[in-house]
């Protein structure tokens, strides 16, 4: 894998700012892309994923996919696969990353990438995989603002 990493930093003060950040990310996204979202419980991963989906033209109510692990939506020009690996990695001391990766396959991840994009919450748990991706890390500060880093791994 050739990795041309581009690292960007953002400081988000309000929900509206998070919304416009999601709009900007949506513009950069192309079919075949995978977006990794990382950050602790309550950081705002699902909120960001919702904003991203809306900006990709998803009209269905986007809700947390934690329970079903993956949810599939139709965007304006593409399919959006929203995956949450939380239930696969929570409470585990050590995890077989390859095993987690097979779970993506169960959601027809590869097939969907041909027609759309995937948003993967807790994507860092399969970071060993050579998946071209946009990594977005969200950190919740004490004052409730968010520090976001975005990195493109190709």
């Amino acid at each position: 894998m050739t990795s041309a990493n581009i690292l960007k930093h953002f400081s988000i003060q309000t929900l509206e700012e998070l919304q416009s950040f999601a709009k900007a990310v949506a513009k950069e996204i192309q079919k075949g892309d995978t977006v990794f979202l990382s950050g602790n419980l309550g950081a705002g991963k699902t909120t960001f994923a919702k904003f991203l989906c809306v900006n990709l033209g998803v009209t269905d109510q986007v809700v947390s996919p934690t329970y079903t692990i993956s949810k599939e939506y139709a965007g304006e020009n593409m399919l959006v696969l929203h995956i949450d690996l939380y239930r696969l990695i929570s409470d585990k001391v050590s995890v077989d990353y390859n095993y987690i990766y097979t779970q993506l396959e169960n959601s027809f991840y590869k097939e969907i990438l041909e027609e759309g994009i995937a948003i993967v919450e807790w994507g860092e748990s399969i970071a060993n995989q050579t998946i071209p991706r946009i990594e977005i890390k969200i950190v919740r500060n004490v004052d409730e603002t968010r520090a976001i880093t975005m990195e493109t791994v190709r």
Binding site: T46, V63, Y67, K71, D91, K92, D96, K110
Partner: protein
Amino acid sequence: MKLFINSARQTESKTACEVVIVHEYSAFEYKNTTYRSIITNGRAIAEELPVIVSKLLNETGHEFHDITHVATNITDAPSMRLRICCAYVSGLARGLGVKAVGYKMTENNSEPDFTQEFLPLPQYVGDAGVTANVPEPIVHLEKKSLLPEPDENEYKVEILRDMSEETLNELYKLEEELFARDKWSKESLEAAFNSGIYTFVCIKYKGKIVASSYLAQRDINIFDIDSVGVSTAHQGKSLGNMLMNSVFDQIKAGAFAAKQTEGIVNLEVRVSNERAINLYKKFGFIPIRQVKAYYKNPLEDAVFMMNTDLLSTGTPNLDESQHCFTLNNDDVVSLGIETSCDETGVAVVSNHHILAEKLATSLNKHIEYGGVIPEIAAREHIQTIDTLVQKALEDAKIDISRVDNICVTTAPGLIGCLNVGSAYAKGLSMGAKKPVYALNHLIGHLMAAELATKSSLPQQFLGLIVSGGHSDLLLRVGRTAFKHLGGTIDDAAGEAFDKVGRILGINYPAGKEIDSFAKHGNPNSIQFPRPLTGAKYDQLHRYDFSFSGLKTAAIRELEAQKQLTPNDRIGFEDFCASFQEAVVDVLVNKTMRAATEFNQTTIVLGGGFSANSRLRAKLQDKCAERGISLIMPEIKYCTDNGSMIANLGALVQDQPPNSLDFSAKSVLPLECVVV
């Protein structure tokens, strides 16, 4: 003729699924191959496989009954296409009554060995790399020492000889706990005791009354048992048996003293109280009639039961089977299949009566891993589903030919798991020539209360579905017409419980444990937010829920508690109670608001989270206040099961069945019954 489905056929560019009809096999070569068809799109297998099979048979002039063997391949890879094929083959063989075989793949596409039994899927080796741990809480909150388990030797039966103020208070407390709306007042308890008609039989634990029964002697040989109750904290200790035995002793003593050798004992019970009904049946009571709307708040039928041979035989009649529902020729029989998560549920249901039900769960394996692993769940489904169908039919004492329709959960849920049930149902449907309905799991949950009432729910009601994946308000506006009023805009209520459980150090699933700790805590110790309840949400999110922010508030609260000295920290039970109260408050308030605004007189509860004791109690209170009847499923039918899906068969039987190209979906509009 043999039907052979190869889910891992290597073509030039990619792996494909191949369906072949053959008359003979020879090593490493398909001979006399009549026709083969290939599906290259992995996603399309679920939809296309049954269609391709039908087409193949059609084009080659074959019928389904020409098939003598069905085979598919098995590999170690955890692949969805492989599971879909296995499940389909397994169902088709069951429907046709022929043999299904699995065979190991080799690089050479070797031939299936038709002398073998159908092989279960092998264990996936990757599991070895996953190890589980109890989650580490953000901060350790001190737990009060919970009530110790009751000591069995401390239970003493007592016939009340006098009614002191203290005794009266204890009896009343038990009434309040168990029979909220039907409770006896202190005045009526005292009056009954003083009337000379009643005998009060109690069980005391360390001197306090924990179970009671009031026996009334109506005539020299006619008795009424007016109440049998065991305090929640002491249930599961066979106190019901102990109480009934003592009551029977009293009856016999009274009757025999009057030289009676024949007599009648009557009682009545709420139709949903299956536990009590079973206890009474065990003691020889026979259901004699059902009285409509006998109980108020919630409005419910009563079963009147009678025991006429107590005095003549003196021994309890232990045959429970004799008064079961009997199946008539024109009754619609539905076979239900549920595989949306970690439970494989199969059931045979007719007219809301369960003829047979089978449930297998892989939950224990998941607890080991701290959450549901879809790969494990899906594999377990394949390994158990066919056996469960076979056993359920056996238990129901019917053949597949007596089944009128096959009902299967198709959405929403874990896509890999849903696919197993759907593919199996398609195979079974084709093989047995029975219509199949692809059904909405959530409507199944909502209508599960029918299994308790054994009758159809009203055509108009407000439904609240709460589970790990859903928190939704629906209106039933017609037989199969539902209107979605609102739902969670982020996390579901059960999900919030599981996630907060994790930061408290409670293993998945955390709902039950938080519920039981909360019982000993103060729900007002922390004022957690009540999301989406303010006036500004009146328009946009009037009937919606949001629990993600509540989860964040809980995290923030625990982080704040961490800064305090251990002595200043809030108690564990208080934290649980406060958090639970916030979730339940929002659910109940929005539900009651919707009921008022849409003039609903009935509320129906469903979903895994509807087992939460606080939610049930609070809804009961509010409904009683407003004269709304509340219908709740029995606790055992709150979680996923096959009966609730089979129960939908009666609802959809007039609609055209699904064509076989339906596919499982992780999301769907809530309003449709048939997907």
